[in-house]
């Protein structure tokens, strides 16, 4: 960038450039290490620091809730976040960048899988240590991870395939109820289904089966929509899938076997943080594999020009149905996890509001992008929690934000970006250094 340009860009971009220059060489490993240090720091000095800054307790979601509730505590909260999170993370990430780059480069000599597993393990450690402080954090984290699964699966239909499906809450409900019935019958003493059939110790082993059953039931539901609506293109799917969502909801409301409108409770406590985390990672991994393969890219071809795709030997009908069932399956898994996190489901959860939430996450984060789904799901779930003190005004601010996004970035924050794990875990040395590394 030349001198003239820099002047015209103004102070803000100058600062942005400087920070970028400062942190451009920090690999993902460095950031994770920084976060690990920060969460460990919070565990040891968090309470003391919060007290000395005049805060009632450790701020739960980076202080946003506290700041909105008690405006007087804004400076203290900001200081707390700076001292516990921002400073340690940036300092550690920057200072260790040399070492972490070397480690990341070493790891790349081994199979990629090892490096990836290490990164994921580190991420899990960070999340675990961060959330362990309170039950509220654990719950928020679990729901956020479930939102990631849900958003990603809807992105397969609405982003990658370019159709507009509204039935995700319906699939989620099917998955939630199917998995719940399975586990409640087997492992809980319940007034609806009687005594437990199996010892509770078997629960964790049978839980994946319960979830997969939930996913399959959702996929069967999807087949019911897919067969009539994929004969043509256009708005039909949107209408039929919306109808399907309401059908599922009223079906469950009228099904006394599963509690009707009162809902179904006493699910065994099986959705622990590691379980939810592993399923989320699995969902991201499988979806990412799928959409990056030529078979998965066929979705994009169908979206961009179906006639051409068909003429280039792509079986468009099978492609669309496969993707739709795939997405429904993951929505079902998300539903199963959701039911076991809250340990209570009722049909009214899976209505229009849920639909609006998921759609917002998809379009906010970005279409046709795994990154986008993660960003959208995490940011909107966090925002939803953080703005809770504003009560009803929350539903003014979030839609406003969405409108702004639609105006300035019509396809979402990080749309059309490939999620390349190999690139993500790479060391981020200077280009010349990397070249010499490659030569050696």
């Amino acid at each position: 960038m030349n001198e003239n340009n820099r002047k015209s860009l103004g102070i803000r971009s100058f600062v942005k450039q400087k920070t970028q220059a400062l942190f451009s060489e920090v690999p993902l490993l460095g950031w994770l290490l920084g976060m690990l240090i920060a969460v460990v720091l919070e565990r040891f000095v968090g309470e003391v620091l919060a007290e000395s800054l005049g805060l009632p307790k450790v701020p739960m979601l980076f202080g946003l809730v506290t700041m909105l509730k008690y405006p007087l505590m804004i400076p203290g909260t900001i200081l707390y976040v700076l001292m516990i999170f921002v400073l340690p993370i940036s300092v550690v990430a920057r200072l260790t960048s040399g070492a972490t780059n070397r480690v990341a480069a070493k790891l790349l000599d081994l199979p990629l899988l090892i490096s990836v597993v290490l990164h994921i393990g580190l991420l899990y450690a960070v999340l675990y240590l961060w959330s362990e402080v309170s039950a509220y954090r654990v719950l928020t984290l679990k729901l956020t991870l479930i939102a990631v699964i849900l958003t990603l699966s809807l992105n397969v239909i609405n982003g990658y395939m370019g159709e507009f499906s509204c039935s995700h809450p319906g699939f989620m409900a099917l998955g939630a109820y199917a998995a719940s019935v399975f586990t409640v019958v087997l492992f809980s003493n319940d007034k609806l289904f009687g005594h437990a059939l199996l010892p509770a110790a078997l629960g964790p082993f049978m839980f994946p089966i319960a979830l997969i059953i939930g996913g399959i039931v959702a996929a069967i539901g999807a087949l019911v929509i897919a067969i009539p609506s994929f004969r043509t293109r256009g708005d039909y799917l949107a209408i039929i899938s919306l109808a399907f969502m309401f059908i599922v909801k009223s079906l469950i409301e009228n099904l006394e076997v599963v509690g009707g409108p009162r809902g179904l409770s006493s699910q065994p406590d099986l959705a622990s943080l590691p379980t939810v985390f592993i399923w989320t990672v699995a969902c991201i991994w499988i979806t990412n594999n799928f959409v990056r393969s030529t078979i998965g890219k066929a979705l994009n071809a169908v979206r961009d020009d179906e006639v051409a795709a068909n003429a280039m030997t792509v079986n468009t009908r099978r492609t669309k149905i496969t993707a739709f069932l795939f997405a429904a399956f993951w929505a079902g898994i998300a539903g199963g996890l959701f039911a076991h996190v809250l340990r209570y489901v009722n049909p009214s959860t899976f209505g229009l509001q849920k639909l609006a939430e998921v759609l917002a996450m998809v379009y906010f984060g970005g279409l046709n992008s795994v990154y986008g789904s993660i960003v959208g799901a995490v940011s909107l779930s966090m925002l939803g929690e953080a703005l809770r003190p504003l009560e009803i005004f929350k539903w003014i601010i979030i839609p406003l934000l969405l409108i702004l996004i639609m105006i300035y970035r019509p396809t979402g924050l990080v749309a059309f970006k490939e999620f390349n794990v190999g690139k993500l875990v790479k060391p981020k040395n200077k280009p010349d250094q990397r070249k010499s590394d490659a030569a050696a």
């Binding site: 499988i286 594999n289 078979i295 071809a301 961009d304 051409a308 003429a311 280039m312 792509v314 079986n315």
Partner: protein, 256 residues
């Protein structure tokens, strides 16, 4: 036995008879042309043979096998590749992805491979990538492989479309106005590509063209279509001098 034969094909859009009693025989390695004024039904014939529309009457055979009524993707996998008049490319995909996509029907790693990234998948993806590069080299745009298609100049997009059609391993290639909207220089390059493809791969080619220069130079036999009906068929010289063709293009009784 001809490579492709169409027997007495007709098609109606509502009450309009767009194609009437159309017959065609193409031998291996032949280049054929289809000309006619606007709205004569040329593209409709392409769409009928490639399965996008189903003919109201008549049969189509490829290498003796009946392909009437099959899905476009099935017909394409049988060995009938095509390009489109208005270049139906996939706007968010890269050049390389376009070519790889056309190998869809030959991928055998299945959904398991797609979901879990099996070694078989990596092997096959690498194979089709290599093949895609060689095709891109053949049409002279290998340097654009990683580009999003919309970033390419018009002439290069046309080449991508031809390479994409070739990736389906066709026995016969349908080109729908391959030189539409091109300047004279691009036109000559495109003709060279068509010749090269024809020579190297031994394909039969069936092309629709408006520019007589292209048709006259490339084709062995030309059909002229007007109002959905073949009005003349023969070598370029014969067609050029046929009074019916002149009438169709310029109107009756015109004195040149």
């Amino acid at each position: 036995m001809p490579l492709l034969s169409v027997e007495k094909m007709s098609h109606e859009f509502g009450g309009l008879r767009a194609v009437n009693n159309y017959s065609l025989e193409i031998e291996k390695g032949q280049i054929r042309g289809l000309i006619g004024p606007n709205g004569a039904g040329k593209t409709t014939i392409f769409n009928l043979i490639t399965g996008i529309y189903k003919p109201t009457e008549g049969e189509i055979y490829l290498e003796g096998k009946k392909i009437t009524g099959l899905q476009p993707n099935q017909i394409a996998s049988h060995g009938l590749g095509r390009t489109f008049q208005n270049m139906q490319l996939w706007r968010h995909m890269t050049v390389l992805e376009h070519i790889k996509m056309a190998r869809y029907s030959r991928i055998s790693y299945g959904l398991i491979g797609a979901f879990f990234g099996t070694p078989k998948r990596h092997r096959q993806e690498n194979e089709i990538e290599e093949m895609a590069y060689s095709l891109l080299k053949m049409v002279g745009i290998a340097h654009h492989a990683g580009q999003i298609i919309l970033n390419l100049p018009y002439g290069d997009q046309r080449r991508v479309e031809i390479a994409r059609a070739l990736a389906t391993e066709p026995k016969i290639l349908f080109l729908d106005e391959p030189t539409a909207g091109m300047n004279p220089e691009e036109l000559i390059q495109m003709m060279e590509i068509v010749r090269k493809v024809h020579k190297k791969l031994g394909l039969a080619i069936f092309l629709i063209e408006h520019r007589l220069k292209v048709v006259m130079e490339l084709c062995e036999i030309i059909q002229t279509l007007n109002f959905g009906q073949v009005i003349a068929e023969g070598t370029p010289e014969e067609i050029q001098n046929d009074p019916k063709v002149i009438d169709a293009y310029l109107g009756k009784g015109t004195v040149i």
